[in-house]
Symmetry: C2
Subunit: 140 residues, 2 copies
C-alpha cells in the first residue's frame, strides 16, 4: 500500500533483516523502540492493517515465522522465553497500520517492568454481558 | 495433558465459553484477571506449552479464532481495536503452560496505563549482534 512504511521497507529492501519468507518477513525495529536485545517484528509481505483485516494466509505465515524467530532467540540469544504482542485498530497503541507481531525475547533477570502486562484496567463498561455478546456474534 | 488447567477446562466443558471450533476454543479469563470488559482467551484444544512448541495447525486455528473474536468485539462491544498477547517459556510472565492468546478489546478513552507496552527495558546484554544471530539461526 502506498504510504505504508512497512510496505516501503519491504519494496525497497531497507531493513535489518532477520528472515525473509515467501509470505512473511522479520526485521529489527528502530533501535530506540526495542525493549530487549533481539526484539524483532514479524509482518506479512502483503499489506493488511492488522489482525482485524488479515486473511488466513497472513495469519498463518506470520504466526509460523513468529515461532521460528522465537525458537532462534532461545537457541542463539540465550533467551528463556518470549512475549508476542500485536496491537490492531484504534486506541490499541499501534504505531504502523500494517500487521506486525512484536517478538520480544525474555531473559533471566528481566523484571516485572519488562513484561507486557498493563497495571491499569480499562474503565469502559459494556451494556450487557460482554462474553455472551461476543459468543452471540460468533454463533451467527 | 494431565495437570494442565486449560486441558481440564476443555475436557470438563467448564468455562464461560465464547466460541468452540474444531481445533481451538475461546473463553473468559477469571474475572479478576480481565483487564478490560470482554477480555478473552483463545487456546488450541490440543495441548502445547506455548508458541515455541506449537504445531502449524495450532497456530493457524488459534490465530484465525483470535481474528474472529477481535471482530466480534468491534461489532458487539463497541471496541475500536484490540491488543493480542502471548507469553511463552520462562521469564515471560506466562501463568498457564498451555498456549493462550489474550485478546483484549480497546475502547475509546482507554489510557496508556491500559496498553500492554512495558515502560521498562530488559537490561540483558547479548554477546554479538542479536539480529545477526537470529538471522544466522534461521538461514541454517
Amino acid at each position: 500500500m502506498s504510504n505504508c512504511v512497512f510496505c516501503a521497507l519491504i519494496a525497497e529492501d531497507e531493513a535489518v533483516w532477520v528472515a525473509k519468507r515467501a509470505d512473511a518477513v522479520a526485521f529489527a525495529p528502530l533501535s530506540q523502540d526495542a525493549i530487549a536485545a533481539g526484539h524483532t517484528l514479524v509482518v506479512p509481505r502483503r499489506h493488511c492493517d492488522g489482525v482485524l483485516t488479515a486473511e488466513d494466509l497472513d495469519l498463518t505465515a506470520t504466526s509460523v515465522l513468529v515461532r521460528e524467530v522465537a525458537l532462534a532467540m532461545l537457541e542463539r540469544l540465550g533467551a528463556t522465553g518470549v512475549c508476542v504482542l500485536n496491537a490492531s485498530g484504534a486506541n490499541s497503541g499501534r504505531s504502523v497500520e500494517h500487521l506486525h507481531w512484536h517478538v520480544v525475547p525474555r531473559y533471566e533477570g528481566d523484571g516485572e517492568e519488562c513484561l507486557p502486562w498493563p497495571g491499569g484496567r480499562s474503565l469502559h463498561q459494556v451494556n450487557g454481558d460482554p462474553h455472551q455478546l461476543i459468543a452471540a456474534q460468533l454463533s451467527k
